[in-house]
């Protein structure tokens, strides 16, 4: 069964975020907007899920993550031919430019600072990537 899932793109946002409150905000808001989400709370878990054939439409990736950092996760995603095309938005509070440029260099579509972002604006961006209105 996993093999079938592997090849099938799921209209779902994969959220990699260790902060429970933010996870809750994401899931509540996105559910309210009709967007399905799957959440991983650390880097290793995220990669494990992805390597099991999970193929989301969009990944929202935090950087400061337990076990494996967001950069490592991103690096592995981009090195994996099967995963490399999934758009990744970095959503972090690490607002330093070095981090941003590193993230963008590694292949993230956007580098967003959560604290400066209205959740409505995030929803709009996500919908754009999902091709929803």
């Amino acid at each position: 069964m996993p093999k079938e899932i592997k090849s099938k793109k799921i209209d779902e946002v994969f959220i990699v975020e260790d902060d429970a409150a933010i996870d809750k905000a994401y899931s509540v808001k996105f559910a309210h907007e009709g967007i399905n989400v799957k959440i991983a709370e650390d880097g290793e878990e995220a990669l494990e899920i992805l390597n099991k054939g999970y193929f989301p439409s969009l990944i929202l990736l935090d950087l400061m993550l337990p076990k494996k950092s967001g950069f490592e996760v991103l690096e592995e995603i981009k090195q994996n031919p099967k995963l490399k095309d999934i758009p990744v938005l970095i959503l972090t509070n690490l607002a330093q430019e070095v981090d941003a440029s590193r993230g963008l260099t590694l292949g993230a579509k956007e580098y967003l600072v959560k604290a400066d972002l209205r959740i409505e604006d995030l929803v709009k961006k996500v919908k754009k990537y999902l091709g929803k209105k």
Binding site: D19, N93, L94, Q96, E97, D116, R118
Partner: protein, 574 residues
């Protein structure tokens, strides 16, 4: 007088002896002549007798001859006797003459000479007779006179010489005094020079002690980059002894690298110390310049350096560099940066969830709120936004202070930036029904190569302050004026102004004037500090005027030549 008396006395005595001597001689001569006379008389008598006998004998013929002979003999005898007598008389007289005219004066002369000698030539010879000795006396007198004249002359000359000698002695004495003074001065000078030498030695020891105990490494090089001196700290840091280093080239002893990873080796000519040699300027590096030495053991030591040219007169004889191992500071800096990064992340994360949940409540994602609930949530939301912006400001300042902000100059159109800032502040400005008047003194005001974000921050802070402190329906005036090589901007409001007691602290970090706190309770006191840091950072000036506390005009300048790009870890925008 004594001499004369003595002369007379001795003369008398001499006379007596000579007299008796001559008397004796005369008597003797008389007796002798008498005897001779007698002899002649006897002979004559014999002759007479013979004559008588002849006469008697009758030898007339022969008698006449004999008689003639006898007559002749008588005559001869008488003449002979007379001649003998005369002879002796003459001898006596000659003796007398010898005595009187020769011996006596000679004796007197001797006496006179003795007197002369014993009287140290202070004696005048009285001529007694007028004979040859008188001439001698005269001669002696003349000699004495000459001698005395000579003596007087000598005395006079001696007096003169004495005077001259006195003068000379005086002069010599003076010279001696001068000499003594000079000796004193010389001694003083010697003493001073000794003191100076000691001072110099002390100074040298002092300098050496400083150089030896200073924590910073120090070395000097000649214009070719050969090491001429290295202090103990430098020996320790560079792991090289002075004996090994002095005379060797800097490149051999301490190669210098540049960059975060310390992997770009700087050629000798590009090293700050050699640049100081060449340009006669001083250079100093900072922690963020990332200089490091490759030392003997192969390790790289992060350093900050300062270099200055060494001049003797007008000639550059080399350069000196001081440096410090900043590995610890580097680690601390990294720790600080990492703290800023973590703090920003850790503080933002809860703010994010608070913000998002507030927004979801406001947008009724969790159902409708009543009016009061809505107001409360709005208050919470505004608080979260303020806290987020305060955090951003703190992080900006921390980064500026750490010198970690990169500068990316692009051509900045000031009119556009002011317009953008105005737009971003529209909610605030419109709410207070304020007007913003922008006056550029020149239509073709130049665009300047500036870091756009920095310029934006300065206008944003000044305009938001003006709006916050200006009265409702007030006017905020922004002016721009070109003044030589500087563009001068001002932002004026007719607001609460800056009280005099607050004016010298208005740019201090976290400072807010009392009237500002009363008027607008929320505020960080960081905005003007940030403005000052940015403006001074690009080489401009910032100041203000607040006439009689009626409103405030803030001025700042921008160099028309623009900003120099600078590598850095972060942009100003967080």
């Amino acid at each position: 007088m004594d001499n004369k008396i003595e002369q007379k006395k001795s003369g008398k005595t001499g006379h007596g002896l000579v007299f008796f001597y001559f008397l004796g001689t005369f008597i003797f001569l008389f007796i002798i002549s008498g005897f001779i006379f007698y002899q002649y008389s006897t002979q004559i008598g014999i002759i007479i007798k013979v004559e008588q006998a002849a006469a008697a004998s009758g030898a007339i013929g022969s008698h006449s001859h004999l008689s003639a002979f006898i007559s002749q003999a008588k005559v001869f005898a008488i003449i002979g006797e007379a001649l003998v007598f005369l002879f002796f008389l003459l001898i006596s007289l000659s003796f007398l003459a010898v005595y009187k005219y020769f011996l006596q004066p000679l004796k007197r002369l001797r006496g006179n000479v003795d007197k002369l000698l014993s009287s140290n030539f202070e004696y005048k010879i009285e001529p007694v007779s007028k004979n040859a000795f008188n001439y001698l006396d005269d001669f002696l007198n003349k000699v004495i006179e000459k001698f005395q004249q000579g003596k007087r002359a000598v005395e006079e000359s001696n007096v003169q010489r004495g005077k001259e000698l006195d003068k000379v002695i005086g002069k010599l004495w003076k010279e001696n005094l001068d000499m003594q003074e000079k000796e004193v001065v010389l001694a003083k000078l010697l003493k001073e020079s000794k003191i100076l030498e000691e001072n110099l030695k002390e100074e040298k020891d002092f300098v050496n002690a400083i150089l030896a105990c200073m924590d910073e490494g120090l070395f000097t090089v000649d214009p070719n980059g050969n090491i001429t001196y290295i202090n103990p700290s430098a020996e320790k840091i560079l792991e090289v002894s002075s004996a090994e280093a002095v005379g060797k080239n800097l490149e051999e002893i301490a190669p210098l690298y540049l960059g975060v990873e310390c992997n770009n080796r700087l050629p000798l000519a590009d090293r700050p110390i050699m640049k100081s040699c060449k340009s006669r300027k001083s250079f100093a590096t900072t922690l963020s310049d990332d200089y490091c030495f490759l030392i003997k053991s192969g390790k790289k030591i992060a350093v900050i350096l300062a270099s200055s040219p060494l001049l003797r007169g007008d000639k550059v004889i080399g350069a000196v560099a001081t440096f410090r191992n900043v590995n610890t500071e580097k680690r601390l800096d990294e720790a600080k940066n990492s703290f800023i990064s973590i703090a920003s992340h850790q503080m933002r994360t809860p703010l994010t969830s608070m913000r998002w949940f507030s927004e979801m409540l406001i947008s009724k994602d969790a159902g409708a709120l009543n009016k009061e609930q809505g107001q409360y949530v709005e208050q919470v939301y505004q608080g979260i936004l303020r806290m987020t912006s305060l955090l951003d400001l703190l992080l900006q300042i921390a980064r500026i202070e750490a010198g970690r902000v990169k500068v990316e100059p692009t051509q900045v159109d000031f009119k556009k930036i002011i317009k953008d800032v105005q737009a971003s502040l529209k909610p605030l400005i419109s709410k207070k029904n304020q007007k913003v008047k922008v006056i550029f003194n020149s239509a073709d005001f130049p665009s300047v190569a500036m870091d756009k974000e920095m310029v934006w921050q300065v206008f944003q802070n000044l305009l938001s302050n003006a709006s916050r402190y200006a009265p409702v329906s007030g006017t905020i005036t922004v002016t721009a004026e070109l003044k030589d090589d500087m563009a001068e901007f001002s932002v004026a409001d007719k607001g609460i102004g800056i009280p005099k007691d607050a004016q010298d602290r208005i740019f201090n970090k976290f400072y807010r004037a009392g009237n500002a706190i009363k008027h607008v309770p929320e505020g960080s006191g960081l905005g003007l500090y940030l403005v000052k840091s940015l403006v001074e950072g690009w080489g401009g000036k910032v100041w203000f005027k607040s006439p009689k506390s009626k409103g405030a005009i803030f001025y700042f300048t921008v160099p028309v030549c623009g900003m120099t790009p600078k590598e850095g870890e972060v942009g100003l925008k967080v």
